[in-house]
């Protein structure tokens, strides 16, 4: 039962120094504008920008197509990056990711349907945004807290071995493309 998130809309910040803006086009042709500081949070996008040689002058004239991410997820990602663009760099959480506390704003942002959250993680993984990945995974990890094995199976949709086997059998029994 997921309530629609009440996430404040984050406008691209036009303050501090004169920001360089970039345009991104999602797979469903939505166009987003994102500042240079924000886009740097995505290693994939920043590498792309660097490799394409985009500059302050030609950035807005050359939108970057991102075919693996739809508009809904891109909107969330842009909001997140704009929100966190001036954050100090944090140590990479490897074994001790459990230690950090998820800020309330981000928790609200990530209070979305499980399927949407899953797609968001795939998008985040593709765009290589470390911090958003940590936060998303924290939300998924929190789902497991104090649950029994039986509850975990339901929450994470893990089929039993017998069901897995049956699924494989039915996949192998089904006729191929040629019929």
């Amino acid at each position: 039962m997921s309530v629609e998130p009440e996430v404040p809309i984050v406008q691209v910040e036009e303050v501090r120094e004169n920001p360089v803006l970039y345009k991104i086009i999602s797979s469903d042709n939505h166009v987003f504008t994102i500042s240079e500081h924000a886009v740097k949070l995505s290693k994939t996008l920043w590498d792309l920008i660097t490799n394409l040689g985009l500059t302050a002058e030609n950035a807005l004239d050359n939108p970057i197509p991102v075919e693996n991410v739809n508009g809904k997820n891109m909107e969330t990602i842009v909001q997140f990056c704009e929100r966190h663009k001036y954050d100090e760099e944090e140590p990479e959480y490897t074994n001790y990711i459990r230690e950090f506390v998820l800020p309330e704003w981000d928790r609200q942002l990530l209070s979305i349907d499980n399927e949407e959250l899953f797609q968001l993680i795939l998008a985040t993984n593709y765009l290589d945004i470390q911090k958003l990945m940590d936060y998303c995974c924290r939300v998924i990890g929190d789902m497991a807290k104090d649950k029994t094995p039986e509850e975990l199976r339901i929450i994470y949709g893990i089929p039993t071995d017998a069901e897995d086997d049956a699924l494989e059998r039915s996949a192998s029994d089904s006729p191929g493309p040629s019929g």
Partner: protein, 628 residues
Amino acid sequence: MSLSKPFPLLHLPRVALLRVFNCISVQEQFYLSMCSSKTKYAIKFYTSLQKFSMIFHFTNNFTFSLKAENSDDDFQLDVQTHADMFASMWTLLSSVDVTGTPFEKNVKRLLSFLADVFNTPAISLNFVGRPQDFVTGIINFIHSLKLDIQYLKIHSANDEDENVTLVMNSCRDASEVHLRCSTTPRFNYLNRSLIPKFNLDKLRIDYAEWVTTWHLTNLFINCKRLALDKCSTVNINVNQFLKEWVNGSFQLKFVKLAFLNLYFESYLTNILEGIPSELVSTRRTRQLFGQVPRIKQQKTGARAYVIKGDYTIMTLSKPFPLLRLPRLPLFKVFNCIGVQEQFYLSMCSKRAKYAIKFYTSRQKILVTFHFTNNFELSLKIADSTFLIDVQPIFGSMWPFLSNVKAISGTPFEKKVKRLLLFLLDVFKTPAIYLNFVERRYDFVSGFINFIHSLKVKIQSLKVKSKRGENKIVEFVLDNCRNDSEVDLYCLTTTKFDYLNRSLIPKFNLDQLTIDYAEWVTTWHLTTFFINCKHLDLYDCSTDHIKVDQFIIKWMNGSSKMSCARLSFNHGDFSLADIMRGIPSTRVPPRRTLWGLFITRAYRIQQQKTGREAFVYSDWRTIVITDSL
């Protein structure tokens, strides 16, 4: 007993005192608070800046634990085994006026003391097999102090109508309630006040035959999570419950209703009658759930999925397809969950197991099997420990282990062995700790032999027994010479001697502790135990042990032993007499590393290696150690 002047802790200025308290653990804070009224108020002032939680376990024993929130600082004490320490506390608190049996009075006094000193901590209660009167008395007492119960579990084999009523009436604001107790057929809990509203994060009832649609729609619908087992289809109309949810704005996020008797397929159609719903495909779980109906709360737009699982389960949220995540995020998720959840996940299916196994291959995990009155398992990783009561898993989740190859033994032994094999597989040969309390020889030897047959080393073995089973001690001494740490707290009969035993394999333990060591002789010391690194013997007999011979043997050999403590049951020996004739030098009086002031100590040296050691006595104990 220290001869130096005590440190006047309470004379410190406040800032310094608070800094000192900052440096000591919660356990020490608790001990300090027991010392006097002044220390209590000092600690109380300090703890007012923090939030604590405490758990009272009323099982066969009575233990309690206290934890500072947002930190790993916690401790657990078994009140019965610390009877001496608590004796002074009971005296100190005897003026607090409470009712009940002497035990109940002590519990209540301790509870009010902790609530006073530790800033009204969040209280968790775990009652296992305790009489109804006792449970009622403690819960009512906590409420009389205006304290909130955060977590409450009542586990009883008896019908507990009164306690269920009490909990339903008075624990509606708790965070989590788990009732694992049955009720009589006449129990109903109907026509009860709706105020205060149920506001639980989680309510779990294992014997929910008495729960009706009225309870669901009027009381429990305000909880966040609800798990009811053994529901009756006669009492519950799920359709009505779902309609109530759809038309309201309730915070309920997850519901599991397991029914005693149900033909679910036909029932599922009926329960959605008159409720707008749409069929939604679930990915990768198609075989499990197929297309599932989704319903929507009109006022809030919240959506819910009605799902049938292994058992009869209705859940109001679509599963998150965890195992479909790419490897990097999947590992990050595993990083976020505790080792207990990792273990539980590994039990879900082969695929889940392999995912966890691959992830845990980079970590070191310690597994402790506690064979006490219950069977518990603790998993430790880095600085986090999780204690898992295995009995509930034995019930519903046990079939998954039946695939592990069949092993000899009783049904319980088979289960434990299979569990071990499973853990060894998933957690990449974890360090194994064993703790046997009053278990039979056959079980102890069978399990240890099984572990050794797998070529796995036991990191720590503790055996407690007052049955006088000589065979257990013999077995451990014969078979565990190459493990890491062995603690034997086993009474033996007077005829026990352990003489004329094979010298091979050599004892190669890091630590050997033997309580009730009356049977240990100079021969055991000089032939067997001298090869251990650390040796602690209690209740030794001066008739059997010639300490001077042991010291001479150490000096003439190349033993790697770094510390030996021999505590005798009589103190009629003189260290000066023992050391007479042994080449040694006197060491000036000094304080040892662990704070003991010694007036007489001797330095001895191993001829072959040049290693030095010190010999001193402390009342009935003779200590030979390489560091003072």
